[in-house]
């Protein structure tokens, strides 16, 4: 199995040979049909590989009204096996979440400068100035009721810090207004927005580029929450184990992956706002109503590969590629941060089935109130934006959703549920209208650890196969399992 994949096409080929991708040759409609198929794929897959009962990723090869060769790829990283293939696990079929977290941390600790090359696949075709026409690409109407056609849902938004020159890659949804413009949605505190505000304060336009259909590692990295000043392209190189080829844009000096399928270049004018949304987002709801306060991206040039592939993510109820891949990355980062700050963490998992909104932490409990220390630490690490937190004892396997639900339902005393106010996210469905606008919807800390002040005999004995039977009985039952007639 190749690693790293040199471009999206090599990854697609790898998925196909692993039985993880279907090439759909039947004509499909960009207007809702592609979105509906993608949504169904994610909801039926629930993170499982095809061998384990999940559905394949899809490459749509014939789109209504578009020339042959203009394609859409979706559900690219929507199960653990595909994530494992992306990140270079030696045996993706059996990769565990803990292994994937460890591999992520090991590789993210490296940093490799990119190769800046001259000619690149993404320059095979060009539209400049008045030739620019976003409708040449089969941008899907993903959900019924979306505010427009979302060309950018699994992509890289490149912008440069006005003061330091640091180039940030982020992933912010973008909706077409007309042939030359899109509106971009930034959540409060996102680095792309902070950069734009620096330009806007000086009444300057911010140069911007969007790369669609880049290599999967670069796409993944652009959605990770890296600290301010850290280069996603250097991190992508580190994760790849070799430098990433990048290329300068035609009309500005931003850098994007050279293998990208489509690159949009242009600028965001200061003080320009237009309508955007609603859009079905990753928490599983279209919780941000149509809003006229979204910055605008004016396109000056488009370059693209022959037969371009548009990468698309259909966000909604779990489990889509965002839920799955970022739950691995964010949980790994939390675990590292907790350990670095002296907390007795055992494991951290963010359940993809919670729309990546529930952080489950297993811990030793050397003192009372340990759950609050985790919540405070999580809030201090700039990565926490309104996650709910469930803290459990170290007897709980946080990677087992059934066990997590059981503990949540049986160990949390109502007096140990704590709403926590802080920076939040307008996408969170539980926020009231005012909280969504001001991004202040509180998160909840559930303390499911047994109180340390309880006498040990008062802690209920867990009644499970592993805890309630003597070792020799467990071994006997396991040894004779097939003999009993079970599988």
């Amino acid at each position: 199995m190749p690693f790293p994949h040199k471009d999206l096409r090599e990854f697609i080929g790898d998925l196909e040979s692993e039985g993880e991708l279907t090439k759909v040759t039947e004509e499909v409609d960009w207007d809702l049909e592609v979105g509906a198929i993608a949504r169904r794929l994610c909801e039926l897959t629930l993170g499982r590989s095809v061998k384990a009962g999940g559905q394949r990723a899809a490459l749509f090869e014939k789109i209504r009204g578009y020339p042959e060769g203009f394609r859409i790829c979706t559900a690219t990283l929507a199960n653990y096996k595909r994530f494992a293939m992306m990140i270079g696990h030696k045996d993706p079929d059996v990769a565990t979440v803990r292994e994937l977290q460890d591999l992520y941390l090991e590789k993210m600790g490296r940093s490799t400068k990119p190769n800046i090359i001259g000619e690149a696949p993404c320059k095979e075709n060009r539209m400049i100035g008045d030739e620019v026409d976003l409708y040449k690409f089969p941008a899907p109407m993903i959900h019924d009721g979306d505010g427009g056609r979302y060309l950018c849902t699994f992509h890289i938004v490149a912008s440069k810090d006005r003061n330091s020159g640091w180039i940030n890659w982020g992933m912010y949804r973008a909706m077409i207004h007309d042939r030359r413009s899109l509106s971009i949605y930034f959540s409060p505190g996102q680095q792309g927005l902070m950069m734009y505000q620096e330009y806007e304060a000086r009444n300057e336009a911010m140069p911007l580029a969007i790369a669609i259909g880049s290599d999967v590692i670069s796409l993944f990295i652009s959605g990770c929450k890296l600290p301010v000043g850290i280069s996603e392209m250097d991190t992508a190189g580190g994760l790849r184990g070799r430098p990433l080829d990048v290329v300068r844009c035609e009309t500005n000096d931003l850098l994007v992956p050279a293998s990208s399928e489509i690159v949009l270049e242009g600028f965001m004018p200061p003080h320009a706002r237009l309508w955007e949304g609603p859009f079905g987002e990753y928490p599983g709801y279209a919780a941000t109503p149509r809003d006229r306060d979204r910055p605008v991206f004016i396109i000056q040039a488009i370059t693209f590969r022959d037969n371009p592939i548009l990468t698309m993510s259909n966000m909604g109820v779990p489990v889509d590629e965002g839920h799955l891949s970022y739950s691995i990355a964010w949980a790994a980062e939390f675990k590292k941060y907790f350990a670095q700050n002296g907390l007795p963490v055992v494991d951290v998992n963010i359940l993809p089935t919670s729309s990546a909104q529930l952080v489950v932490i297993s811990t030793k409990t050397p003192r009372a109130g340990i759950a609050h220390l985790y919540a405070s630490a999580a809030e201090l690490s700039w990565r926490l934006v309104g996650f709910n937190i469930l803290v459990v004892n170290d007897d709980v396997d946080v990677f087992n959703p059934a066990e997590v639900v059981h503990v949540w339902a049986t160990r949390v005393h109502p007096d140990r549920i704590y709403p926590r106010k802080g920076p939040s996210n307008p996408l969170f469905a539980w926020g009231n209208p005012e909280e969504r606008v001001s991004a202040t919807a509180p998160a909840i800390l559930y303390d499911a650890t047994w109180p340390v002040e309880w006498p040990s005999e008062f802690v209920p004995r867990k009644s499970s196969f592993r805890t309630i039977y003597p070792q020799e009985v467990q071994e006997k039952v396991e040894r004779k399992w097939i003999q009993y007639g079970f599988e």
Partner: protein, 85 residues
């Protein structure tokens, strides 16, 4: 007959039936946002020869019955009308 869509900012009261007004609509054909002067009506019968327009709430829900629209003037796409390029 062309079909359009319109997002209500608040509620139906912002649409003045039978009066010319400037509104943002999108054509169902490609969903481009246009700014137009138009007359809208909740009943197709009172605007003979008009096109169909579907109304959506600000969270995207489509109202069950379409209205009719007669476009009097097209000012261009939303960004062009806003003078952004």
């Amino acid at each position: 007959m062309a079909e359009y869509e319109l997002y209500l900012v608040r509620d139906l009261s912002e649409l003045k039936e039978g009066e010319a007004q400037v509104i943002n609509v999108r054509k169902k054909e490609n969903y481009e946002m246009r700014v137009v002067k138009a007359i809208v009506n909740s009943s197709g019968e009172r605007l003979p020869g008009a096109d169909k327009i579907w109304l959506r709430t600000k969270v995207g829900e489509q109202l069950s019955q379409p209205w009719s629209i007669k476009i009097l003037k097209d000012y261009g796409s939303l960004p062009q009308h806003a003078g952004l390029y």
